[in-house]
Assembly symmetry: C2
Homo-oligomer: 132 residues x 2
């Protein structure tokens, strides 16, 4: 074959955490995500639905988040690797710029890899979404 084999789940996982540790989340999306990426949050609203599909939508969500949050510190724990999926634990200490409210949030993300690309990301929270 002229083309290289798709990257393994473990190597995609390692690349993703390396980029996210460096704050390069947008590069992770651009380099590692499938054009058909599906992104699932616990909750959505009319502007930001819980489930989004496609690279442009996910890049838009990421851009919105980084434009609106000042990140004081981040911790990226993992990856935790399974068969065709991997998980990462994130802890972010941020200030939401529009309100000035500072929060520390911990979440787990579960990623699904197909043909060397992330095709699904689903987020799980330890802090209730409603809590200030």
């Amino acid at each position: 074959m002229a083309t290289a084999a798709p990257a393994s789940t473990a190597s995609v996982a390692q690349e993703l955490v390396t980029l996210c540790r460096a704050g390069r989340n947008m590069d992770a999306v651009e380099q590692l995500y499938s054009p058909k990426i599906v992104s699932v949050e616990p909750m959505g609203d009319e502007n930001m639905p819980a489930e989004m599909t496609g690279l442009e939508a996910v890049k838009g969500k990421n851009k919105w988040w980084f434009d609106n949050n000042e990140v004081h510190s981040r911790e990226v724990n993992g990856p935790f690797v399974g068969e065709g999926q991997f998980a990462v634990q994130y802890t972010y200490d941020t200030t939401f710029k529009p309100t000035g409210q500072r929060v520390t949030m911990t979440e787990m993300a579960l990623y699904t890899v197909k043909d060397g690309k992330v095709v699904r990301e689903q987020f799980y929270y330890n802090v209730p979404a409603e809590r200030p």
Copy 2:
């Protein structure tokens, strides 16, 4: 050494998912958890604090949960294995017996292993805790 080496994170992870797939969660706690287990939920109340310590408390929480929920189906996805930690995704379709309310919930658990025993479990939810 006369005693066996502690079980690896990967083997503890595999044993835990095997028992939980069989609905033997209490056996998993008894066989795989440290006496000093720390269990962390997103939220607590005066009866069931968010953070519990010790095998008896965690067994009590599990017993309470299984006594009060009828499990229609369960899915145990994983394990996702890292260095000294592993994650598991659970989906439960349950009816809460006191109210008759049926819900499907998805969660991730992150387990920390030390000396071959689970010393910490922390739960992350995709469904907002307040949603009916």
